[in-house]
Subunit: 208 residues, 2 copies
């Protein structure tokens, strides 16, 4: 029914792919200004030179659109990180460094971050597949940073908590209820879980 950029569904023609790209671009640009509220479906359609009905065929709701926008941004981030991997000594350090780097990227476009994160947490069941994709990509980024051959089940559990912390801390920062320092502390605290409770002596300390 829906076109969807996901590989697997009917492949898009070049023009369709271009439309999809224009839409995502317009979405990100509008979000970069006023945040969630500034992404108005009529304006996105106009900016992407597409009819409103078409926009809705590509993305069945504003939330779908913004979650897709987030997938896009995450991909870009992941690529960047692969090019310059984190340098910490322990897995915990590398994860914390990676997340803080992602965080600084979001800081540069706080309005865009606002739009994407609000969409993500506001998403209801009808978007759960897409949200899940975002979640899986986030997990992949964290696991990449850990650089472990065989993460233990406990470490995987730790990754889940870290992700929760990351999302929630982001939300509190975006709504002005936590400072950046606080976010960093929260992330570092959660990352302590990676090295496990036996962490003798060594405690997370800022790399560099």
């Amino acid at each position: 029914m829906t076109v969807e950029g996901r590989p697997g569904s009917p492949p898009l023609t070049a023009r369709q792919e271009a439309r999809r790209r224009r839409i995502l671009h317009a979405s990100a640009r509008l979000a970069g200004r006023g945040g969630f509220d500034a992404v108005q479906m009529r304006e996105v359609a106009e900016a992407a030179e597409v009819a409103l009905g078409t926009l809705y065929r590509y993305f069945p709701s504003k939330v779908h659109l913004l979650v897709a926008t987030m997938q896009d941004q995450l991909d870009a981030l992941h690529a960047t990180l692969r090019r310059r991997p984190p340098a910490g000594e322990s897995a915990a350090e590398r994860v914390a460094e990676t997340l803080m780097r992602a965080f600084r990227a979001l800081q540069r476009e706080p309005q865009l971050a606002d739009a994407m994160v609000r969409a993500l947490t506001f998403a209801d069941r009808s978007v759960s597949a897409e949200v899940d994709t975002v979640s899986r990509r986030t997990t992949a980024i964290i696991l990449d940073a850990m650089r472990l051959e065989h993460p233990t089940p406990q470490q995987l559990a730790a990754v889940r908590v870290i992700e929760h912390t990351w999302h929630s801390a982001l939300v509190t920062w975006l709504s002005g209820r936590a400072s950046i320092a606080q976010v960093r502390l929260d992330i570092e605290t959660a990352c302590r879980l990676i090295d496990g409770p036996e962490a003798a002596g060594e405690r997370p300390r800022a790399a560099r």
Copy 2:
């Protein structure tokens, strides 16, 4: 400007207090059925026998209304918990038990939980004061469960991460992306942070 039930602002007359109560009651009832979407301002106003404009004078937006509803529910929960405190031996156990108990309470009214949590995470800056109140009450509940005389800074940091985990896990459960077992595991994982990385034999003992 706004009436607000918060003590401090102009005291409400009995009729106003009654209106406020009717509104919150109607809100919770509607949320208990269809969740966030079912809480429609016109319907709340009608059910509470109040004009739409009055509803907006008491709660300046749907999100404000639902966050206030959450404050209400949290108060009730906190009272219940005080009556029957958690019984675990370590602070971590008691916190996990408390949160799982809260979680079961929410499970009984998943639609209501959905409405409240969605409102909470969707809230923008204009609601941050109210959201902060909710957050502080949650913190109080957790600290109560820990029953520590002097929580260390690290333990306070752990509480923050636990709260993040709690919120975010709730969101993923509500959107059908995590099972209850998974939520429990996540909460228990986060609670491991309380007992601290030095987890040797005995640690934070209950002040009892």
